[in-house]
Symmetry: C2
Subunit: 518 residues, 2 copies
């Protein structure tokens, strides 16, 4: 078992030391710790019996066989036709034999390489990774102001991702660097993810050309040949629910799949709006959409690693906005997990994704309801687990470090109940007997730190102590911690030649690309 | 299935209407809605295999057989001796055959009667109830100040409990009415619970005499004969971990058990201090303590309904204070649930119990991590699910109504995934097809409200709307909601003769009892 507490303490101590040349010299010797792949040692939770899962599977197959799904791209439609599907324009009807044959080509697990090999992780089966959020135009900053994200913010979030031991990835667009023009933005996003952190990262999917730039930048860091076959990033492509894969998404999907880079095929469903107002109805539809996407990648590159999954939330009747932390979101996660296991596919879900505008009580209730389901449903790629506020519109600094600490607890949780020292614990009970206490026993001294998760951002001091320290709420403590971590940040080393080649590539592409979308 | 949303809306509408004579006259006609017993329709989560549970059971039996447990009361020790236990002074060693024979006498389920028969609930098996917190000396009030609790506060909390459809009980000492002298306090606590609400309530256990007063007051409301045999309240007795049942607790336990009133035998364990620093070690000890307590009640009154269970939290190394929302607290809950099922005992756990001082992000993260485990572990008496802050030292108004709304979601969650309208949902998908939307379909119009949980205290409005409404955080919204609910409160009816007899009883006992503890 990973010594989580020792690892975590290194990070906390580092953050506490703060900036200053002396402090930096002192800490240069040690690398920032990082948890290895989370190997689950707890059972999954099955919320319905197998027969119910078969019922949903059958309904999904009927959707693809009878209604069909649009692949709005000529090449895609052609590939489907050649594979034997019933194709009418862009409408593709796929029978279940073909569908399952293609889905079966996807490996149950894959290795996701990091530029620092110590951060390389495994995804699928019993292996899970935690990935920070993606896609926010806004940030909630260190002064609790909501404003557009900037490149400086994005750099900061990549620094925090690097310094958070329980995060296995740096994501990519944690927030949008809004001051950079859209045609050039992807270059700076990927550069930030690749340089301020050394963990696996995520691709860009807004066009074929941008996806190709990402592959080229990855090639400069990992070697062009390596990137042809070995996963170094994960890209997200969304189905337009209901039942449309559009040309932009398919373009990006093709680029990544051809390079054996895993794509997430996990429809972003606003249940009640882009699906029926029924949890099982929504799951049947999203499953059909995800399976069709997964199957399509196998027409591009058979055997390429892919991620099945979902982002399913219900919508608020008043505002139409996605909600977090609802019972149905949790239940649908369990259903999708059961389907993923049936298909033997690595799968993605989300945790800690909330509708709350602030890192307040609403955020906490929403976040941990969903994360519990993400852990027990056996997901492999647990995304949006740092920073997410306001249905993904906002990346919050305080929320990021709050989530970061919670992840340590969830990592521990998923490692299961330890019976390793049961005999010694029983001996301690015998030693203490009625009306004693255990604080001084040898067993306690030896096991206390490893036995129990000890968060430090959460405050369990006495009321008097807490008041003396300023009676700060959790959000305030989170912003202070984020500030301290950033002050203590030191970049992971990168070969100078690689750094130069990235800079050259970006400079060239900046010259070639237009300043605005025509 | 209960129409949760319709019930909830009645309450919200009532709270929104606020005070005013007109409003009160208008709403007098309708009773405050209340959810029936929660009948679970989801499977339990088993975190370890049966063999691991047997290992813990065996360890617990060895604790009681070899170390023994203290029953520090002559009558109790005598009863154990007569039953065949090995008794040495107050140290009682119980072999597993005797233990299991006594435990087997406890009914797997029981009916808990309310003074309003519509609020009567069932506890045990697949039946669960939600019960607000108990025991806080302080409140965090409607202005977010932390101060001593008063009788006015307690009345307020009983009003809120009455108005919260998902709460099945009014508890009793939600906060301590600190201005009332200790010898007389129990009279006013029980009077408040019995009059400001009409739901089942909880007993007082600080002395034999006070427990007897509670039984007498219950007799005035339910009829003396009825209370001799039928559960109308639940009392909590705590083992002094490790391994001591003290005279005060045993005195109260005897009073309640003789009247067939259920007692909770659920040690309050600060894991690492009053147990070994080991989750399984702690569970083995607490299980031994709880089973010994349960068994003892069956020496008092065989067949009396009782509640097995636990309150197990880990302690913060810095402050020694109990923590909420830790992975180990959740894991220990699952283990205790599995043991309860093995023994076929109704069992109690807690949800929403947090260490946070404020109703902030920390509170939310802590609360919903534990509640998820409380629901999936199959607990029957889910306690401390409204109001709990600061490890139980504080009852918070905002936290109370926050929890109250969350309970609606958890109630829905535990009712499972509905396949009832699957065929109609599939027809809606066929009707909408690719690139449509579901908002206007007949299925959506008919099912939207019942399909998805729609919290209203949580805010999912647009950022602009939320800003226009004052950019209030969740805690602020909670306090405002509590204030509005209290303004709209109307007491449940009570027979005038009963009300008078309660007042007379209290007046008499106030004359008889001293003003301070001698």
């Amino acid at each position: 078992m990973v010594d989580i507490d020792a690892l975590s303490k290194q990070v906390s101590a580092k953050a506490r030391r703060g900036g200053g040349r002396e402090a930096r010299r002192h800490s240069r010797a040690r690398a920032v710790p990082s948890f290895p792949t989370l190997e689950r040692r707890i059972p999954v939770y099955e919320i319905v019996p197998d027969e119910a899962i078969e019922l949903i599977h059958d309904a999904s197959c009927k959707i693809l066989e009878e209604i069909g799904i649009d692949f709005r791209d000529d090449e895609a439609a052609g590939l489907w036709k050649a594979a034997g599907a019933d194709v009418d324009g862009y409408r593709v009807r796929i029978d279940r034999a073909l569908l399952m044959e293609l889905v079966a080509r996807v490996p149950a697990e894959f290795t996701l390489n990091a530029r620092n090999p110590e951060r390389t992780v495994r995804v699928g089966g019993n292996n899970a990774i935690f990935v920070p959020m993606y896609g926010a135009p806004y940030v909630r900053d260190l002064d609790n102001r909501r404003r557009y994200g900037s490149l400086q913010d994005l750099n900061n979030f990549h620094k925090l991702a690097y310094m958070t031991p329980a995060l296995h990835s740096s994501s990519s667009i944690i927030c949008e660097p809004m001051e950079i023009s859209v045609p050039k933005r992807h270059l700076h996003i990927i550069h930030s993810a690749l340089t301020f952190s050394d963990k696996p990262f995520m691709g860009i999917v807004t066009s074929r050309e941008r996806a190709e730039d990402v592959i080229k930048m990855a090639g400069l860091v990992f070697g062009e040949d390596f990137v042809k076959d070995n996963p170094v990033l994960v890209a997200i492509t969304n189905c337009n629910s209901p039942l449309v894969w559009d040309a932009t998404m398919l373009d990006a999907m093709k680029v990544y799949a051809r390079h054996n880079q895993p794509v997430i095929l996990a429809p972003f469903a606003l249940c009640g709006a882009s699906t029926a107002a029924s949890s099982v109805g929504a799951v049947a539809q999203v499953n059909a959409e995800a399976l069709a996407g997964v199957a399509f990648t196998q027409l591009i590159r058979p055997g390429s690693p892919q991620l099945y999954g979902q982002f399913m939330v219900t919508v608020d009747m008043k505002s139409g906005a996605p909600m977090g932390g609802t019972p149905e979101a949790a239940q649908m996660m369990y259903l999708m997990g059961a389907l993923a296991r049936k298909y033997k596919l690595p799968w993605r879900t989300s945790g800690f994704h909330v509708g709350s505008k602030l890192n307040d009580a609403q955020a906490g209730y929403e976040a941990n309801m969903l994360m519990h389901a993400a852990i027990l449903s056996g997901a492999n790629y647990i995304w949006h687990v740092a920073g997410w506020l306001e249905a993904g519109l906002v990346a919050g600094y305080s929320k990021f470090v709050t989530d970061a600490e919670q992840l340590v607890g969830w990592y521990k949780y998923a490692q299961g109940v330890s019976f390793d020292d049961f005999t010694e614990a029983m001996a301690a009970i015998r030693e203490v007997g009625p009306q004693g206490h255990f604080l001084g026993t040898q067993h306690t001294l030896e096991h206390f730190e490893s036995a129990f998760f000890m968060p430090t951002l959460m405050d369990f001091n006495s009321f008097e102590q807490w008041s003396a320290e300023g009676a700060r709420d959790h959000d305030t403590r989170g912003r202070e911690k984020a500030r301290a971590m950033l002050a203590a940040y030191e970049a992971p080393p990168m070969d100078e030649g690689i750094a130069e080649s990235l800079a050259d590539f970006i400079a060239r592409r900046e010259r070639e690309l237009p300043d605005s979308v025509s």
